[in-house]
């Protein structure tokens, strides 16, 4: 979840170096290895392993070892691509990679295996995290960006892709056999494709889920928690959170993120999606202030009566702290709240929580929300677009993403072969439910202007949540604001910057599918 701060990739890379990944010899800034003395690819690949990448204490805690792979080698791109072919075509070339400056040093080390495998030299272009969007856009506009590849918060995809700043990747993906079909549809369609063309490789694949505390729930139910039936509906979640609100002093019924800005938007989208809410109609006119959106907001207002005290100011960091510290009995949050809670160095509730299937809403649908991950792209002006693509494919490959999840660093894999792997499910508590949920995921479209749109909606929802305005006023205000933002981004003027028909299938991928339980 890199948008939440600056540390996600850093954490991973730090972990990998801390455990002594065998990359000694080459460091950032030293000249490229001569093509002739590149090491045997297999020996490099063998070192991209659990024992070298995953934190030692977590390895021990879960009995992880290289004998129990948490990914599928046959779907792991770095183990299927022909590195000799890569070397023969691209060895000796250079790729410039825009990376959040905080990560630059550790990213360099994480990319050394790629340099060894491909013979491509990676030059990092550190961009200050705070001004990443601003700087990247400015460079795109200049027509001569100082980087070939970049990773960024996925809502910006529309802003970057619509004006043609990004390089099409379809050709490369075919040529180098990127396992696109292994990605869950929701990520491939929304983080990968824009207007029918491929521009991105999904990177941080987040989803929102509902987590509950095992002990409290068992007390309430008088038996084990069932991931499907214990809280089958949002009405039941309201009831349960009301009961659990009294379970112990200092513990609230439910944790919610309802701070101004996108936090409120995400929580509301999460619930409303279950009521069948869609943000736009086929003319890109906002329709989220209709019945489904209202239903979602009403549920949130109802839940907020049992919520932790800080919910109206809570973004992810605050919600995470409250959940891991044991202040809330249930929680609506990202999947990583269900991974990090397992880790005793961060959590007070190890072994005392369960991630459940999304509660349903009568008249709605099962639509777990894919919200706010990141994607990785190649600049249209790239000098070495193919090399950039290969580097991104390396960074997002199944094995490395699986080990991110094992390290609980918040960078989430979006591969079926990873999330469905039983060994991974053993070290990532939510993985099973998560994997099932993604087949039915809801997603907001990656439009130009998506970021201000999310801010505008969330600001109004926060006002409703603290009782300044009614739910109806909030959504109507938001719809007006969104329409204005859309207009200023070129919508409603004949040719919309995004073709609705192209975007529509990705917005809800569960249509007509049987429920997973």
């Amino acid at each position: 979840m890199e948008f939440r701060g600056k540390l996600s990739r850093r954490t991973f890379l730090r972990n990998s170096t801390a455990t002594g990944i065998a990359i000694a010899g080459t460091t950032w800034g030293t000249p490229l290895l001569a093509a002739s003395n590149l090491p045997d690819p297999q020996s490099v690949l063998d070192d991209i392993s659990i024992s070298k990448y995953v934190r030692k204490d977590y390895q021990k805690l879960y009995g992880m070892s290289d004998d129990k792979p948490i990914w599928d080698n046959s779907k792991d791109w770095i183990r299927t691509v022909d590195w000799e072919a890569v070397r023969s075509e691209l060895s000796g070339t250079t790729v410039r990679f825009a990376v959040g400056a905080a990560d630059a040093e550790s990213a360099a080390e994480g990319l050394v295996p790629f340099e060894k495998l491909s013979g491509i030299k990676v030059e990092l272009v550190p961009i200050p995290d705070d001004s990443f969007y601003d700087k990247a856009l400015a460079e795109f506009i200049s027509g001569n960006a100082s980087f070939d590849a970049l990773q960024f918060f996925s809502p910006w995809l529309g802003d970057f892709a619509a004006p043609g700043f990004l390089h099409e990747l379809d050709g490369f993906a075919d040529k180098w056999k990127l396992p696109l079909d292994d990605f869950y549809d929701t990520y491939r369609m929304n983080y990968g494709f824009f207007n029918g063309k491929m521009y991105g490789i999904p990177f941080d694949c987040d989803v929102q889920m509902v987590h509950v505390r095992k002990g409290y729930m068992e007390k309430l139910l008088g038996g084990e928690v069932d991931r499907v039936n214990s809280i089958p509906t949002y009405d039941e979640l309201i009831r349960v959170s009301r009961e659990l609100n009294k379970v112990e002093p200092g513990v609230s019924g439910i944790g919610l993120m309802a701070a101004p800005g996108f936090w409120s938007t995400y929580t509301w989208e999460h619930v409303s999606a279950q009521a069948g809410m869609m943000l736009f109609n086929e003319n890109w006119e906002p329709i989220f202030n209709g019945d489904a959106g209202m239903k979602g907001l009403e549920i949130i207002l109802e839940l907020s009566k049992n919520a932790n005290e800080g919910f109206a100011g809570a973004g992810w960091p605050e919600n995470r702290a409250a959940w891991l510290g044991g202040q809330v009995a249930t929680n609506i949050s990202w999947q990583d709240s269900g991974t990090q809670a397992m880790r005793p160095d961060q959590s007070q509730i190890v072994d005392d929580f369960v991630t459940i299937y999304e509660p349903r809403i009568a008249g709605g649908r099962f639509a777990p929300p894919n919200i706010a991950g990141s994607t990785s792209c190649v600049a249209a002006s790239a000098q070495n677009a193919e090399g950039a693509f290969l580097m991104l494919a390396f960074l997002t490959t199944g094995s490395i993403m699986a080990m991110n999840e094992a390290n609980a660093n918040g960078v989430a894999p979006g591969y079926k072969s990873v999330l469905q792997n039983p060994n991974l499910q053993a070290v990532s508590q939510p993985a099973k439910v998560w994997a099932d949920s993604l087949e039915h995921a809801w997603c907001s479209p990656r439009l130009p202007g998506a970021f201000p749109i999310e801010q505008a909606i969330g600001n109004e929802i926060n006002r409703a949540v603290v009782g300044q305005i009614t739910a109806k006023e909030a959504l109507d205000n938001a719809a007006t604001a969104v329409k204005a933002i859309m207009a200023s981004n070129g919508f409603y003027q004949g040719k919309d910057p995004v073709d609705y028909a192209e975007a529509a299938p990705g917005l809800y991928v569960g249509e007509g599918k049987a429920l997973p339980f």
Partner: protein, 281 residues
């Protein structure tokens, strides 16, 4: 002690000590509690009910030195702050001398202009300064911070030094002048030594303000390359590690101790410094 004599009459000592004691508690309790945060494990900070007697842990200490480039942040802070104070003194001493010792047209307006820059909200100038530094390639450098801190404190430093200069008897200078000393020599050999306490006071206060500066640093220093302690703190809150309060608390105390010691040393001059010389302590 004249004051002690007064105490014995009238006013209730009990009330006085109750009030002063209560205020001391109000000042110190949050600080002590925060210190206890810095010395406890992370899992005992945010809990259903606060833990008042935590277990002792140096986790945060190891984290700030081993996982974070805290030494670098510290270096950045020190470099930017000392650099800015030197710039300030070089600019402020002649300016203060001019304002304190000469009569000329526009003097009061110039003096007030210098003073009024203190009133400029950082947010107002933040955007242009951001672009200015970006265009000259100084964004995200310690140099930029140095220049900004110097600008923020210049009015303060000038006015404090001016106030101390006004106190120097004119006769001292006149004597030197009749001996044939030029204005600059008088400034260098007579005035500066005489107002050394003022210069030190001004420097200390400038340092405190520079350490505290937040908005500019946040905007100008966007990577660890130029992070200072103040902004590094705010960045313990991002990312998938969440809020790391024990590290925040410990860093806060690391920055506090030297500042506290220096300020205690110049206590006598503090009130005068804080009012830019308007109050003589």
């Amino acid at each position: 002690m004249a004051s002690q004599r007064k105490n014995s009459r009238g006013e209730s000592l009990l009330l006085r000590y109750a009030i002063l004691g209560a205020w001391a508690l109000f000042c110190l309790a949050p600080v002590l509690w925060f210190l206890s945060i810095g010395l406890r494990p992370r899992t005992e900070i945010i809990t259903p009910q606060p833990i008042y007697w935590p277990s002792f842990s140096l986790d945060a200490w190891h984290m700030i030195w081993e996982d974070w480039p805290m030494a670098k942040y510290l270096r950045n802070s020190v470099a930017a702050i000392f650099g800015s104070v030197i710039i300030d003194l070089v600019l402020a001493i002649p300016a203060a001398y001019s304002l304190a010792r000469y009569t000329y047209r526009g003097r009061d307006d110039i003096g007030f202009y210098i003073l009024s820059t203190r009133m400029m909200a950082p947010a107002i100038v933040a955007i242009p300064i951001f672009f200015l530094f970006r265009n000259v390639g100084l964004l995200d450098t310690v140099w930029a911070l140095m220049l900004v801190y110097a600008a923020i404190n210049l009015s303060f430093v000038t006015w404090i030094i001016r106030s101390y200069m006004l106190d120097i008897p004119k006769e001292l200078e006149d004597a030197a002048r009749t001996d044939g000393a030029g204005d600059l020599r008088i400034l260098w050999e007579i005035i500066i030594p005489a107002i050394l306490p003022g210069i030190i006071t001004a420097s200390v206060i400038a340092m405190i303000f520079a350490i505290n500066e937040f908005l500019f640093t946040l905007l100008i220093a966007s990577t660890p390359k130029a992070y200072t302690m103040s902004v590094a703190l705010a960045n313990f809150t991002g990312g998938s590690d969440g809020l790391i309060y024990n590290a925040i608390a410990l860093v806060a105390f690391l920055a506090f101790v030297p500042v506290f010691l220096v300020v205690v040393a110049i206590q006598k001059h503090l009130s005068r410094g804080l009012t830019m010389g308007a109050v003589k302590g």
